[in-house]
């Protein structure tokens, strides 16, 4: 099995053209990028609003319980019922993208909301007390402190989308999932396995990149990395910080 797999990877034909590896990788990245951006544009403001005002918390619970619905089912349902309404080749891609966006919203929403909720109430009180207006409290204090969990939610969302996009190849979406699905249909195991490995590598690489981004963007005062300093004298107010990524909100697919 391994030799034929290697052969698939080294075959130059697989590296060019519309079915070539670079094209498929790019497609997959584009789907992921667009989806997460759209989902973020919906979920993050919503999460900020729910967290800041404390209203409509049921939205977050609802989003979390969406975890129980099988992604495959959603994809199929979307293509069957929404697809016919859309002309041309987009009949397959658009419903799939819509489902991807829908699936990316819960982790982003939950992460944003949890992040804002986790902000130290004393810090919030102090922010208002020193004379910050509502908007200033939100952007200068709440969001920076919520960043670890917001980014954690983003990572979950990205992985969710990468995984679901892979499966969506079954209903006609492009991307790396094509190799898996086509390979299965043709009983071409090297292609299937090749696609699987590529997807796995892509997922891990994205996760790593985002983790690095998180380290850069989040204030060192929040990550507990800074807590190695001098904490002599009186009472130890030991913060139980890790790197803030305590939220695993993936529905997975």
């Amino acid at each position: 099995m391994i030799p034929s797999l290697l052969a698939w990877f080294t075959d130059p034909a697989n590296w060019s053209g519309p079915d070539g590896i670079p094209t498929r990788v790019l497609e997959h990245l584009v789907y992921t990028g667009v989806t997460v951006l759209v989902a973020a544009a919906i979920a993050i403001p919503l999460g900020l609003w729910v967290g800041h005002t404390g209203r409509a918390r049921w939205l977050v619970s609802l989003a979390n319980s969406a975890r129980a619905v099988p992604t495959l089912g959603l994809l199929f349902a979307a293509v069957l019922w929404v697809g016919p309404l859309i002309p041309g080749s987009l009949a397959f891609t658009l419903p799939s993208i819509a489902v991807l966006v829908l699936l990316a919203i819960p982790p982003l929403l939950a992460g944003t909301y949890a992040g804002i909720e986790a902000v130290d109430p004393a810090a919030r009180d102090a922010a208002a007390g020193v004379g910050m207006r509502g908007r200033q409290v939100l952007w200068q204090v709440e969001v920076p402190n919520a960043l670890p969990l917001i980014l954690s939610g983003t990572r979950s969302a990205v992985l969710q989308v990468v995984a679901t996009a892979t499966i969506a190849a079954y209903v006609g979406l492009g991307g790396l999932g094509r190799y898996l699905i086509d390979g299965l249909a043709l009983a071409d195991y090297p292609q299937t396995a090749g696609g699987a490995i590529l997807v796995a590598v892509l997922a891990v690489a994205l996760e790593g990149l985002l983790a690095l981004l998180q380290r850069r963007v989040v204030s060192p005062g929040l990550t507990g990395r800074a807590a190695a300093g001098s904490r002599n004298d009186d009472d130890a107010r030991a913060p139980e910080e890790s790197d803030g990524t305590t939220v695993d909100l993936r529905t997975h697919a």
Partner: protein, 380 residues
């Protein structure tokens, strides 16, 4: 000056947190609000900067009705210190301190300079400036909280149990430093605490509130101790009132006795029963020993009985009495400013001095109602 005018806070479900509070916090003085849980002291404090809005009545800051001012601007002119400091974890210590100046539009450079200055002022090491709050101890965080409140040099400060979240030793340090700072700055301060001892130690004026938000009594600490208005206040102020009031008494000159001493490391030179005072080369008292136990050898560190406290000659009668009571020989050790032995005093001699002294508080009834407060004799 802060004036509460018939201020009431009632919640929609009917609970009354503050009930018809009328009180004046004089300019440049510390007014302490104290009382048991549920007495509305924190609520009252938070109505000054409108973190909570009064249901009835008004609060005036130097004559201006706070209800009419813009909320954010009002708060930028008031220093606000809370329990657990409420520092912004994502900002460095210096950035935390500079919060209000930045809000007011100061330049970055000016803000930084001011922040550094305040860091030192509150007694912190300059290199802590670039640290994050999570790297600081509780006491250090509180100091930063105070520095942040002082950054824009507001004339008024509101402090809500700022020293409660630290252990007693640190608390005492913070209280002493706070008094020193206030001595330099002279802000108008409203301070909330549940600890009557802290209230008496820090307050120029103490307002005792009862559960349900009514004012029970407001007076200078010495007067409060001597003339509690009713059983509730008497109970709340607690026992040992007379003893605690001693710290406010003026210190008469006590007649001190000469005391025989031995320097640490030398032989006692006597075999009498009883106690002998041990000093160092500068005549600073180290402890007591029993020569009968030691015999002919030199006095060592492990022989010392350290139980007795040491009173300063310029200190309070309370200190002198305690020195006498705690000393194993019943002779209280008194030292001068540099810590060198002056002499000893017996308990009954201190008590005689107390009895001969005038009572510290004035007898004219509550000294504070809408006017300035004058302090009758600093005890410490």
């Amino acid at each position: 000056m802060i004036r509460f005018d018939a201020v009431t806070k009632q919640y929609p479900d009917g609970t009354v947190a503050v009930d018809d509070l009328s009180l004046t916090a004089p300019t440049g003085r510390i007014t302490v609000l104290v009382g048991p849980s549920g007495c509305g002291k924190t609520t009252s404090l938070r109505m000054v900067n409108r973190m909570i809005e009064p249901t009835r009545g008004s609060i005036a800051l130097d004559g201006r009705d706070t209800g009419r001012m813009d909320q954010a601007e009002l708060r930028r002119g008031i220093g606000y210190v809370i329990q657990h400091a409420g520092l912004f974890p994502h900002r460095t210590v210096l950035d935390n301190i500079g919060t209000v100046p930045r809000l007011l539009g100061w330049s970055r450079r000016r803000t930084r300079e001011r922040s550094r200055e305040l860091l030192e002022r509150v007694g912190l090491d300059p290199h802590l400036g670039d640290r994050y709050p999570a790297q600081l101890s509780g006491g250090q965080q509180q100091r930063v909280g105070v520095a942040r409140a002082l950054a824009a040099d507001p004339p008024v400060m509101l402090m809500d149990e700022p020293f409660s979240a630290v252990d007693p030793i640190v608390r005492e340090q913070l209280q002493d430093e706070f008094l020193r700072l206030q001595g330099e700055l002279g802000k108008t301060i409203v301070f909330v605490t549940h600890d009557i001892d802290e209230a008496i130690k820090l307050g120029d004026q103490v307002a005792v509130l009862r559960v349900g938000g009514r004012l029970a009594q407001v007076a200078e600490p010495a007067y409060l101790l001597a003339h509690p208005a009713d059983d509730f206040v008497a109970d709340f102020v607690g026992r040992d009132r007379g003893y605690r009031a001693l710290q406010f008494q003026e210190t008469p000159r006590l007649a001190l006795r000469a005391e025989r001493t031995v320097v640490l490391g030398e032989q006692p030179g006597t075999a009498e029963s009883g106690w002998l005072l041990v000093v160092d080369d500068d005549r600073r008292p180290l402890g007591w020993v029993e020569p009968a136990r030691i015999g002919a050898r030199a006095v060592e560190d492990s022989d010392l009985h350290r139980g007795g406290t040491v009173a300063r000659q310029s200190g309070t009668l309370r200190g002198a009495l305690d020195a006498a009571l705690s000393s194993p020989s019943r002779r209280g050790v008194v030292v001068d400013e540099s810590g060198s032995l002056v002499g000893t005093v017996l308990a009954h001699e201190v008590l005689s001095a107390i009895e001969e002294n005038d009572r510290p508080e004035r007898e004219e009834g509550d000294p504070v109602r809408g006017g300035a407060v004058t302090i009758a004799g600093d005890g410490a």
